[in-house]
Amino acid sequence: MWHHPASFFTGWLLICGLLLQGCASYSHSFYPIEQKLSRQDPAGALLELEKQGYASGDQLLYLFNKAMLQRMQADFAGSNQTLEKAKRIIQRYAATSITEESAAFMVNDATRTYIGTPLEQVMLHVYAALNYLELGDHDAARVEILQVDVRLRQLMSDAPNSALSVDPFARYLAGMIFEDLGEYSDAMIAYRKAYQAYQLHNSKLYALAIPPALKRDLLRMARRVGLWDEYRKLRQRFAIAEEEITAAPAGEGEIVLILHNGLAPLKREHDVAVVDPGSGRLIRVSLPYYQDRSNRVKGARLIAGKASQTTETVEHIDAIDHKTLEAYMPAITARAIARAVVKYNMAREAGKQDQLAGVLVNIAGFVVERADTRSWLTLPAKIQMARLRLKAGRYNLSLELLDASGRPVRSVKLGEIDLPKGKRRYISYHYIPPYAQRY
């Protein structure tokens, strides 16, 4: 039996499939971690993540999730160390692997080493920058911004006509960091790119509202740098009054609250299994699709004493995820169909030698056909930002989470913060809905 070519094929398929662990759906394995998160227990979620381990091709996802869970526990330095490891993985495995592509043709797409979607690669740097900002290391945040600029340039040169090659929030954050460091021309360029990216996403991908804060930032920077023509044009277009565009007066600082709202959509698989009427062989095609998670909280209000400000959405991670998958679907579908043909032919070849062998090869090919449901699941569904300009001093901050009609759902204490003169302080809050998605 062992010398039989068909059992050899079957064995190979099964071993490849199991060793490379593409046989289980990745997104299913995330459920225990999400359960812990929904109970507001990121430490427990991290233990769960460590306990689970990971397939060698999924190491990047393990690092992504670990970095986010460390961040949720305010271990910003640890989170950045993990993100540096993630960067090295992306660099090492960015090249197309010959053996992996061949294996993917015989088994399934999830056997390939995961290197992240363009959005996830950009978010890696955005979260590293946010970690550094919360540690107060502006120069290191600046380094991350420069790195994300290189990444975005690579994306643009790979796909110049795609609206997915630009990222609005990465540019917006870059502008804020440059402005903090007094590099006003660089800030102006970054704000301008952010504005263009929001416009491009709005016209080509999904409906969004350009954050009003960005409009004010653009005008303020244009005035600061002396671009009067642009200033006048933009002021007309935005219809913003002159008084709203002042720079912070001396003695005031600014609190920037970044709300990481909900969790990114997860990929499920859509199976089509048919029996070929002529030969009686099973054919299976498995394709991924995104499922959004439900979340009552649509925004928040930052409260510091008597002052308050509601959040604006600055990055629609869920919408970008949907559109990215949409862009990949033709290639994924073509590969799935080609794979089905390859497996059908293998089963037929084996069947020529021995009918039982043919059946075994057919079943093996059927079983290992799974969609690639891997994605960075601890990313938020939306990133939202609220800014409050206040006199320098000590404040007790709280956050009111709001539903779609603006009614408060929950109130969260963010603790005390020392606001220095003329500086920005960045704080983050990760909101996970209190119910895990059943799947």
Binding site: R88, A95, T99, V143, L146, D158
Partner: protein
């Protein structure tokens, strides 16, 4: 088994298994500190050593040093200020500063005083001696040597990317500023260019 390896898929599997097993075990090789090994194209210890050596050699060979010695009849005291990392990489500026300090002190032409980060601990040790050390071994406060010059600088990069090829340009700028009258007595600039080619394909 032999007839299996005659077939093409058999050969492919055999090769595949060999490759999988070939990567077993960790290999450690000790290399000499002076050897250059460029792994990812990022700033490494070779760059730090090269730049600090050449820049300090340049700094100590200029007129400001002899002018100062002629004027004041003693060597100048230099303190290292902030060297900002304005580059694309998280460069460890501390090791770079250490390389610079070592080059300066080993030249023997210039007196070096502890930087802001270092003297915090030195001062608290001195204060501790005030209370706990024996009278004749106490080092009194207020006897520090004031620096005459401060060395400040920045590391900048320009990165050009095309597909899998990157051209990395590093520029390290150092300024030597007089603490008496703010004159910049020396400006040094060292440029490094690296061409990094990442492969499009891998096994």
């Amino acid at each position: 088994m032999m007839q299996l390896t005659q077939t093409l898929p058999g050969k492919a599997l055999f090769a595949f298994l060999l490759l999988l097993l070939g990567g077993c075990g960790t290999q450690v090789t000790r290399v000499d500190v002076e050897e250059t090994h460029d792994l990812s194209g990022a700033w490494n210890d070779t760059d730090s050593r090269l730049v600090s050596r050449e820049m300090i050699r340049d700094m100590l060979g200029r007129n400001w040093l002899s002018d100062y010695i002629n004027k004041h009849q003693r060597q100048p005291a230099v303190i290292v200020g902030t060297i900002r990392n304005l580059s694309h990489e998280h460069i460890n500026v501390e090791t770079f500063i250490n390389d610079i300090e070592r080059e300066v002190i080993n030249s023997g032409r210039v007196i070096f005083v502890a930087s802001r980060n270092q003297r915090g601990e030195v001062r608290s040790e001195r204060k501790d001696q005030d209370t706990h050390a024996r009278e004749d071994t106490r080092k009194p406060m207020g006897q520090e040597l004031g620096a005459d010059f401060i060395l400040k600088g920045s590391i900048n990069t320009i990165i050009d990317v095309e597909g899998k090829t990157q051209l990395r340009y590093y520029q390290v700028d150092l300024n030597l500023i007089s603490l008496t009258d703010n004159r910049i007595v020396w400006i040094g600039s060292k440029k490094i260019k690296k061409l990094v080619k990442n492969s499009k394909l891998r096994l």
